[in-house]
Symmetry: C2
Subunit: 100 residues, 2 copies
Amino acid sequence: MFVHHVFFWLKNAGSEEDKAKLLEGLKGMTSIDVIKTSHIGVPANTNREVIERGYDLSWLLIFDNPDDQEIYQVHPEHKAFVEKCSSLWSKVVVYDAIDI
Amino acid sequence: MFVHHVFFWLKNAGSEEDKAKLLEGLKGMTSIDVIKTSHIGVPANTNREVIERGYDLSWLLIFDNPDDQEIYQVHPEHKAFVEKCSSLWSKVVVYDAIDI
């Protein structure tokens, strides 16, 4: 199992228009075949000190293995997403975790 | 769907003994009934600039809804884990994401 979790901070913080564009871009990738599970999220209302709540959208992908994640990285639909949407965000944080 | 993703940095960085203790503590919680999916991870070998690789263990939980996550937070097994293991880590970062 390979967990790929991405958190996006919009350049135009609070812009619903840009958030909608990014959301549309993410939704367009959910059909990529190597993705086993996907989730597009926003920060929950939980609010303890250790919780990072500053991001605008989260993108969780679960793959069967690291190779599938590499296939996703170079997939034409992923490349098209980056080209179309990368101007929308100012910061991205990624966590890639594998089985221990 | 409620995604709860926790990243742990050990106080004794690099201690395999402390990592094993924390791992054991996490494994002990996987049977909590409101948890729909769980994954215990370590950083993958991916190494782009945006990837955070400094943590020692990750703990991904998926719940059906925010209420189930609240039940988990106050579950006796979760409280016992915090009591037993919180001295092991120096830093915790949590992301709680819900459906948009």
